[in-house]
C-alpha cells in the first residue's frame, strides 16, 4: 500500500489548489463545515464530521437554473456556467456513500442537468473515520468507517502519515505527482461501533403505515427541518422564479417534507397536514420508498446527524429498534 507523509500531503494539496477549487472541513465559529480553502493550514484535520453534509457542494442550498433578461425588448436566456473542477477533501465515508445515493436519484433518467454537471467536475477524497462518535451507526446499515463507496480516493491516518488508496481511475489521476511511498504497513483498523440489525425493516414497513405508534413516537416533533437538511441523502427541493426589474431568475433551493406546507397543493388541500404524517414520510422515504426504486438500498448511511441535532431527541435508532420488535398495528 502507498503512504504519504503529512508534509507531502500538504504539498500535494497546495499543488491541487492551483488547478482545482479545493473544499475541506474547516472550523467556522465552533462548528465544522465544508468551505473552499486556500491553504492546507485551514483544514480541521482532527474534525469528527461536518454539521452540514458535503452534499451542499454538489446540490447547493440555492442555485440558479437560468435567468431571462430583456435586452432592447428581446428576452435573453442564460444558463449559469458550471465549469469549476473541484476536489472535496476529507469527507467521511458515510457522506461519500450518501453522494452515491444522490447519484442514483439525480443521474438516472431523466438526468438532472445542473447536478450532473457539478458531479462530473468533482473528485472525492475521503478520510477514514478514526473515532466515530456514540450515535453513529454506519456499520449497522451497510457502511463502514473506512468504506470506499462513492469515493475516488480513501486516505487513512496512521502514525507515519496517511495511507492512500485510490478507488477510481479519476482518483488515480488526481494522485499523479503526489509523493507516495510504498509501505508494508497496513492502515489502522477503525474502532468498532455498536452494531444493531436493520435487516428486514423495509419489508415490515408497508404493514405498519397506520400504526398508532408513529403519532406517539413523534409527538414531540416541532416540524423544523434539521433532520432533512442535515441528512446527507435527503434531496428535496423547491423551484421558484425571482423577479428583479426586467430580469427573472429561476431558482432551485433545498426544501423539506418536514415543513408544514411542503405537500400543500392547489386549492389548499394538504395530504400531509400532521407532523406524524410528515415525519413518517421522512422515515418511509429512506427505509421503504427509496429501496423500492433503487435496488433495495436503504437511503440512510448512519451518520446520525438527525439523532445528534434533533432539538427534541427523536431518535431514528429507537424507531428501527421498535420496528424490529414489532409495532402495534
Amino acid at each position: 500500500m502507498d503512504i504519504i507523509s503529512k508534509e507531502s500531503l500538504n504539498r500535494w494539496l497546495t499543488d491541487l489548489m492551483a488547478r482545482y477549487q479545493v473544499m475541506a472541513p474547516v472550523l467556522v465559529e465552533g462548528d465544522h463545515l465544508f468551505r473552499p480553502i486556500s491553504s492546507p493550514d485551514e483544514i480541521a484535520w482532527d474534525y469528527y464530521n461536518a454539521v452540514v453534509p458535503p452534499k451542499e457542494l454538489i446540490f447547493p442550498l440555492t442555485e440558479s437554473l437560468f435567468t431571462l433578461e430583456y435586452q432592447n425588448g428581446v428576452p435573453q436566456f442564460q444558463e449559469p456556467v458550471i465549469d469549476r473542477d473541484t476536489v472535496i477533501v476529507g469527507l467521511r465515508p458515510c457522506d461519500a456513500r450518501a453522494i452515491a445515493m444522490l447519484d442514483a436519484s439525480f443521474l438516472n433518467d431523466p438526468v438532472d442537468t445542473p447536478y450532473a454537471r457539478r458531479r462530473a467536475l468533482v473528485t472525492l477524497v475521503g478520510w477514514t473515520c478514526v473515532s466515530p462518535e456514540a450515535p453513529c451507526f454506519c456499520t449497522s446499515i451497510g457502511g463502514a468507517p473506512n468504506g470506499t463507496e462513492g469515493l475516488d480516493v480513501l486516505m487513512t491516518e496512521g502514525i507515519d502519515g496517511f495511507f492512500v488508496r485510490p478507488v477510481t481511475e479519476k482518483g488515480k489521476a488526481l494522485l499523479t505527482g503526489a509523493e507516495l511511498k510504498q509501505t508494508d504497513a497496513t492502515p489502522p483498523e477503525p474502532p468498532p461501533l455498536p452494531v444493531f440489525s436493520t435487516e428486514g425493516i423495509t419489508e415490515k414497513l408497508p404493514d405498519v403505515f397506520l400504526s398508532p405508534y408513529w403519532q406517539e413516537q413523534v409527538e414531540s416533533c416541532i416540524s423544523c427541518k434539521i433532520c432533512t437538511f442535515l441528512c446527507p441523502t435527503c434531496y428535496c427541493f423547491d423551484v421558484r422564479d425571482r423577479r428583479d426589474g426586467e430580469s427573472i431568475e429561476r431558482l432551485r433551493c433545498w426544501d423539506s417534507c418536514q415543513g408544514a406546507h411542503f405537500s400543500r397543493i392547489a386549492g389548499g388541500y394538504n395530504p400531509r397536514a400532521t407532523k406524524t404524517a410528515r415525519w413518517k414520510q421522512f422515515f418511509y422515504h429512506k427505509y421503504l420508498y427509496y429501496p423500492e426504486r433503487f435496488g433495495g438500498v436503504i437511503a440512510c448511511v448512519g451518520c446520525a446527524r438527525c439523532v445528534r441535532k434533533c432539538p427534541v431527541n427523536i431518535d431514528i435508532r429507537e424507531v428501527i429498534r421498535d420496528l424490529k420488535e414489532g409495532l402495534p398495528v
Binding site: 462548528d31 442550498l61 416541532i222 423544523c224 421558484r240 431527541n313
Partner: protein, 289 residues
Amino acid sequence: MTVNITEQIQEKAREILSSGQVELIIGYQRASDGVTARPAFIRKAENVAKLIFDQTCTHNLAKYAIEHRGKSMAIVAKACDTFGINVLIQENQIIREKTYVIGVNCPGVVEVSFGQVGDKLQYRCQICQEHAPAVYDYVAGDPVEEKPLGFDPYIKVKVLEALSQEERIAFWEKHFERCIRCYACRNACPQCYCTECVVEQIDPDWVGIPIQVPEKQIFHVIRAFHLAGRCIGCNECERSCPVGIPLSLMNMKFSQDVEDQFGYKPGRDPEVCAPLATYQPDENLGIGG
C-alpha cells in the same frame, strides 16, 4: 432537606391524571442518550414514572400547549417557561382554566447536547434573577434564593452595541452565512405560533425561498421584531440552532430596549399585554396632531 422535584412532579401528575382533572401531562423524560432530557406526553397514571426533572430539562414545553389547546392538560414549567405560558394566556392562545401548571422553582439548566451534559449553567440561567414560577397551580422544588447578579445581564448586548454599524453588519452576516433556514429557532419558540409564517407565505411571495444571506437576514430580523417585548429569554431558539447562531444577542437587545422604554418584562403578569402588541385609543403615538 432538599425535596426531590422528580418525585413531586410524578406524585402530582398521578393525582391529577387519576382524578380526571387533566387528560395529558406534558413533562420531561430521559432522552435516548441516557443522560439528557426530552419532552414526554403522559396520558395514563401508570406511566408517570417516566417523568423526570433535573438540570438537563432545557425545553420550553409551553410550545406544546398551543397544539393541545382546548384540552385539559398539565405542563411542567420552569420559572421562565411560566412567563411563556403567561404570554400565551395574554394572547388568547391557551385557556388558563384548562391549563394546569406544575411550576418548578428552577435551579437553572446546564448546557446540553446529545450525549453530553455540561458542568456550566446555560448563559440564560447565569443571568436569571427570577427562579420562581409566575403562574402555577402547584410548585415543585424548594425556593431558590435570589442573589444579586453582580454584573450587567445585558453585558453581551452592550459589547455588540459598542461596535460600529459596519462591524455589526459584518458580525451578523458572518453568522447568517451558515444559517440553513431550517426554522428550528422559530419552531422551538413558544411565542412563534403563526399558522403561516410570513417568510413561508407563497401568495404574496414576500421573502421567497432562497437560502441566501438577504433572505436569512429578513427572516431573523422579522422574528426578532415580532418577539420584541414578547421574548421571555428561554433561549430555546439558540439551543436548537444546528449551526450555533447567537440568536440570544438579537433577542436580548430587543428585550433590553422594551425594558428601557416601557419598563416592561413579558409574561410576569397575565393581565398586562406586551406594549408593542397593544393599542389604546388615547395613547400618544407621537404622530399627527
